[in-house]
């Protein structure tokens, strides 16, 4: 798999995918996109790097366990609901702030919620993929022969 082309292009593609994932997340409320799709793209970025390096290296680079990030995502989603609940509205009601004027970028609890979704989807898919790769790395060289003989 480790062809020179992949070696050169993978980091670039992964970086582009990463930026795209965030862009898709942020534009999601008004244009195609959202936390779910963005999260899948984010996971694709991680997997792209996974083709290049061992999963142990990727884990070391990420510094934080993807599943912890997923937990943070669910936490953010729950928190976004509590914000409105704490103000006497029903749980998960949307709250909107316009720090940059009425036509400017808006901050809202649905956005926070979507970021939570993004984190969960991206990190869970990435975690599963990394775990699968790690298992493959561990079984190492004997793997291919084993698959053929059985």
């Amino acid at each position: 798999m480790k062809t020179p082309i992949l070696h050169v292009l993978a980091p670039v593609i992964a970086a582009l995918l990463g930026v795209l994932a965030i862009k898709i997340l942020l534009q999601g409320h008004n244009a195609p996109g959202g936390g779910f799709i963005g999260g899948l793209i984010g996971a694709a970025a991680v997997m792209m790097m996974g083709f290049l390096a061992s999963s142990a290296t990727i884990r070391a680079r990420l510094r934080i366990d993807p599943l912890q990030v997923a937990g943070l995502g669910v936490f953010l989603a729950v928190l976004s609901g509590l914000l409105s609940w704490g103000r006497g509205m029903s749980y998960l009601s949307g709250l909107w702030w316009y720090p940059f004027g009425k036509d400017g970028t808006a901050l809202s609890t649905p956005l926070l919620f979507d970021i939570g979704v993004w984190l969960v989807v991206a990190s869970v898919v990435a975690a599963v993929a990394l775990a699968l790769e790690q298992a493959r790395d561990d079984e190492g060289h004997g793997d291919d022969e084993g698959a053929r003989t059985e």
Binding site: H29, G35, L40, A70, G73, G81, M89
Partner: protein, 902 residues
């Protein structure tokens, strides 16, 4: 003027009652408790869930708008002022509409209502901080924690005066408005008595546990469980809403489970905990069914109203079913025969738990239920016989069993079961004096049994044993514990001047008891003898299985003051309450009795230690004489009596049933869960495929083409929409080609790649038809799935080529065709039916207006249906965790096998 006018007037009265405070607190939810002597009527509900009155429109009354959805008649009505803007802080006015006067005197202030919530639920707050409290402060942390139940005790005690004057406190707090379930609590005489026992004994238990579990690594968790239990139990005895009552009932079962299983390394503890949970929770579910039937019949969920129902107006079978279901709950919770087996086993819990939950408080839950509903069922035919038979049988059987036990705690547990049986028996006897006796005995039992348990724990702690055959002569080494145990046992045996004596006197005071007199005398004799065994055997006699003249074990010593202070206070309490019985009766017990008998006016009761030479006194003396005789019999004779006693071991029946259940589920699992992915997939595709196909075959009209000739083609080509474009047909052909090609390829990885290729034109097709989000998702899922599958396939040691036999290929093909075909047909049928666009229209209209988003798909995901999404991402997280854990485990196994090879 009809009911509408009356209620309108009442509403007006409320909305104008406090004009100034209303404006000031516009942002807060406020509770208006039921007002005094409210006489209103129920409101009929029309089909569409709105409210209407027979005379006059009700949607707007004096500026108050109705916010009620579907509320059973007699439920709670939520009113809201102003526009129906869900986004704004609301001001709810919650009122109770009852079809009859609630209580003669209901006094409540807002201060009360909030304070009561705090008093009830303070334990949950304590549970949060308890682990840190213990971690930082150790034993002192436990003592500080004891302040919480102590404060609650003081709060409840401050209401004694008010309750004794016939007032009650009723508070309501909005909870689940949609189903009209308020958090409503009712403090009356009976609730107050229980609440004082729970918080008072709770305080002592907290102090006791701080010493008993000193240095235990999980002591913080223990306090958290204990505090949660206390709040649940308080809520249980105060709850006025049937649903709230049920929830707290089950919460006490759950916290009891956690506490019994506290030493979870021991299999015995785990089994006992599970057993207690299964038995009591199952009973709780039966009770829920009973409560629901009763509430539906009555049209109200408020217990204070339920128990005032006229039982003759309800069909007899209904009332019988309700009674049996409620009794199922009560008998399991209060360990009545044949459900009594779980309680002795629950002694696997640490002693503070046994003293608190399994003698003084939780097991009285069933007794509380019987007392609470006694006004309702007192007129029913089956009530008295059921209670008397089960109570009486439990009373006698468990006393005999107690003689066969040698573990102090198990002896005490059996006597607890007996006492609970006695209480049920007394309630079932029905007469006012017997109810009085039940309340007095309940109070006495909580004091002496709590004291005895704590003394038993102290003995265990100081001597290392609880076996009465091994212990002996400890009075010298542990004088305070011995004194406390002796006083408590005297109360248990019904000796004057302890409070237990008064309970026994009252039992004998009813002139109509000749039917149950032998049971009562026999039981009390055995109880007296057991009290002697518990209090004399370990402290004053020589150990039965130890020769020598010294105390056994020799190293016994009195423990930390926390270990005996609780037992001592309770034992002295039993003495003082006997000495000042008259005051106790007036202030505390009479209101409780009044609540149970259902009379409106408190009948003053008089409790006196000396009431002259009455038949009751003579019977008491006879009881004590007989008790002394039984006590003087040797241990062997007592064991012999116990063996002669009825031996139906429900414990083994429980094991048998549980084993059968587990066996059954194993068999079913063996059939369904073969571990063969191929089979799962076949079943997973076959069953829905068949279901859809049968559904369509049953309803052939849905598939009928619009025109007989070439109708299908016209539909597919979309005659109405102007036909398909060439590139659309090309995309469809690509999908079909990829699918067919995948079938012909033997190599698995290649086949999956080809299928993935088929997904891309599908995504394009979505894009063409105006669903960019769907296209995006399809593309990403397709790509990631391919990558993940490739990863899995390279490491699963499967054959890389398809090696299925021809028959199996045909069978799998048939399943695939059936599933694909029926799904396609269902889609076709769905598109032929007129599309219901109500939801689409709503989302289209509201997406920008109320959710500020133009991407409707995203708005639905993160706003309109955010709760669904929250559930989904939680599932995703859980699934991810499971996958990673499974892979990790496999890796470890793999490593292990590699290591073994080397």
């Amino acid at each position: 003027m009809g009911g509408g006018g009356y209620e309108a007037a009442m509403l007006r009265q409320h909305s104008t009652a406090e004009p100034s405070s209303e404006k000031r607190r516009a942002d807060h939810t406020e509770i208006y408790p039921v007002c005094r002597d409210m006489q209103t009527r129920t409101i009929p509900i029309t089909v569409d869930g709105r409210w209407s009155m027979a005379d006059g429109q009700w949607s707007m009354v004096d500026g108050w708008r109705l916010l009620a959805y579907s509320i059973p008649a007699g439920g709670v009505l939520c009113l809201k002022k102003g526009k129906p803007d869900f986004g704004c802080p609301q001001r709810l006015l919650v009122m109770a509409i009852h079809d009859k006067t609630i209580l003669p005197h209901t006094r409540s202030s807002r201060r009360d209502s909030f304070a009561m919530l705090i008093a009830i639920f303070c334990g949950y707050g304590l549970a949060v901080i308890a682990p840190w409290l213990i971690k930082w402060l150790g034993r002192r942390g436990g003592l500080i924690a004891a302040f919480v139940p102590a404060m609650a005790f003081i709060w409840f005690a401050s209401h004694i005066d008010m309750i004794a004057h016939g007032d009650t406190v009723l508070v309501r707090y909005p909870w689940v408005d949609f189903y009209a379930i308020p958090l409503s609590f009712h403090l009356d005489g009976l609730s107050l008595l229980f609440a004082l026992l729970i918080t008072g004994i709770g305080t002592l238990i907290f102090v006791y546990a701080a010493a008993y579990l000193d240095g235990h690594p999980r002591q913080g968790r223990f306090f958290a469980y204990l505090a949660m239990f206390m709040s649940s139990m308080l809520g249980l005895v105060l709850a006025n809403n049937a649903i709230v009552f049920f929830v707290l009932w089950e919460l006490t079962s759950v916290t009891s489970f956690l506490l019994i299983a506290f030493d979870h390394e021991r299999a015995e503890s785990r089994r006992a905990a599970l057993q207690a949970l299964i038995v009591t929770a199952a009973g709780g579910l039966a009770m829920l069914a009973g409560l629901l039937i009763l509430a539906r019949t009555a049209g109200t969920y408020e217990i204070a109203d339920l128990i005032k129902l006229d039982i003759t107006a309800i069909p007899e079978p209904t009332i019988l079913v309700v009674m049996l279901l409620l009794l199922a709950g009560a008998f399991t919770k209060s360990a009545q025969w044949p459900f009594s087996f779980w309680l002795p086993n629950a002694m696997a819990a640490p002693t503070p738990v046994s003293a608190y939950l399994h003698s003084a408080t939780m097991v009285k839950g069933g007794v509380y239920l019987c007392l609470r509903f006694n006004p309702l069922f007192a007129e029913a035919d089956a009530w008295m016989p059921l209670l008397m038979v089960f109570g009486g049988v439990t009373f006698i059987i468990s006393l005999f069993k107690a003689f066969g036990e040698s573990d102090l705690k198990r002896v005490l547990a059996q006597t607890t079961v007996a006492s609970l049986g006695l209480l049920i028996l007394l309630i079932g006897s029905g007469s006012a004096i017997m109810i009085e006796a039940a309340i007095v005995y309940l109070f006495a039992h909580a004091l002496f049994k709590g004291a005895l348990f704590m003394a038993a724990g102290s003995v265990d702690h100081g001597s290392g044993s609880r076996d009465i055959n091994y212990l002996g002569g400890l009075a010298g080494a542990m004088p305070i514990t011995a004194a406390a145990a002796l006083m408590a046992a005297l109360s248990m045996g019904g000796m004057p001047p302890f409070i237990g004596f008064l309970g026994k006197e009252l039992m004998y005071a009813d002139p109509h008891i000749f039917l149950i007199l032998p049971v009562l005398i026999g039981g009390n004799v055995l109880m007296f003898a057991l009290g002697g065994v518990i209090a004399l055997r370990p402290f004053y006699q020589l150990p039965a299985l130890f020769s020598g003249d010294r105390s056994s074990p020799p190293e016994a010593h009195e423990g930390h003051w926390g270990l005996w202070i609780g037992a001592m206070i309770l034992a002295i309490g039993g003495l003082l309450s006997g000495l000042f019985a008259h005051d106790l009766g007036t202030w505390l017990l009479a209101p409780a009795i009044q609540a149970v008998t259902g009379t409106d006016h408190a009948k003053p009761i008089s409790l006196h230690l000396w009431g002259g030479v009455t038949p009751a006194l003579v019977l008491s003396i006879v009881t004590i004489m007989l008790g002394l005789i039984v006590l003087s019999l040797s241990d062997r004779k007592r064991a012999w009596i116990s063996r002669r006693a009825l031996r139906i071991n429900a414990d083994s029946v429980y094991d048998l049933k549980l084993a059968m259940l587990i066996q059954l589920s194993k068999r079913i699992t063996a059939i369904l869960h073969t571990g063969r992915l191929h089979q799962y997939l076949s079943i997973g595709l076959l069953v829905p495929g068949l279901a859809i196909a049968l559904g369509l075959a049953y309803n052939p009209d849905s598939m009928a083409p619009a025109a007989p000739i070439a109708g299908i083609w016209n539909d597919v080509a979309g005659v109405q929409s102007g036909g398909l474009y060439g590139y659309e047909i090309l995309l469809m052909l690509l999908i079909a080609a990829a699918s067919i090609a995948a079938m012909g390829i033997a190599h698995r990885l290649t086949a999956i790649l080809i299928l993935g290729v088929g997904g891309i034109p599908l995504a394009l097709l979505f894009l063409v038809f105006g669903a960019p989000d769907l296209a995006f998702t399809q593309l990403m899922v397709d790509t990631l799935l391919l990558a993940v599958l490739a990863l899995i396939l390279t490491r699963l040691r499967v054959d890389i080529a398809d090696v299925r036999s021809g028959v199996r290929i045909c069978r799998d093909g048939a399943i695939a065709i059936l599933f694909g075909g029926s799904l396609g047909a269902a889609l076709y049928a769905a598109t032929r039916a007129p599309l219901d666009t109500r939801l689409t229209d709503y989302f289209n209209a509201e997406s920008v207006v109320s959710a500020h988003g133009r991407n409707i798909v995203n708005v639905i995901l993160v706003d309109f249906r955010a709760l669904d999404t929250l559930g989904e991402i939680t599932v995703v997280l859980t699934a991810g965790l499971a996958i990673v854990v499974l892979l990790e485990r496999r890796r470890q196994v793999h490593r292990g096998s590699l290591a073994a090879k080397e």
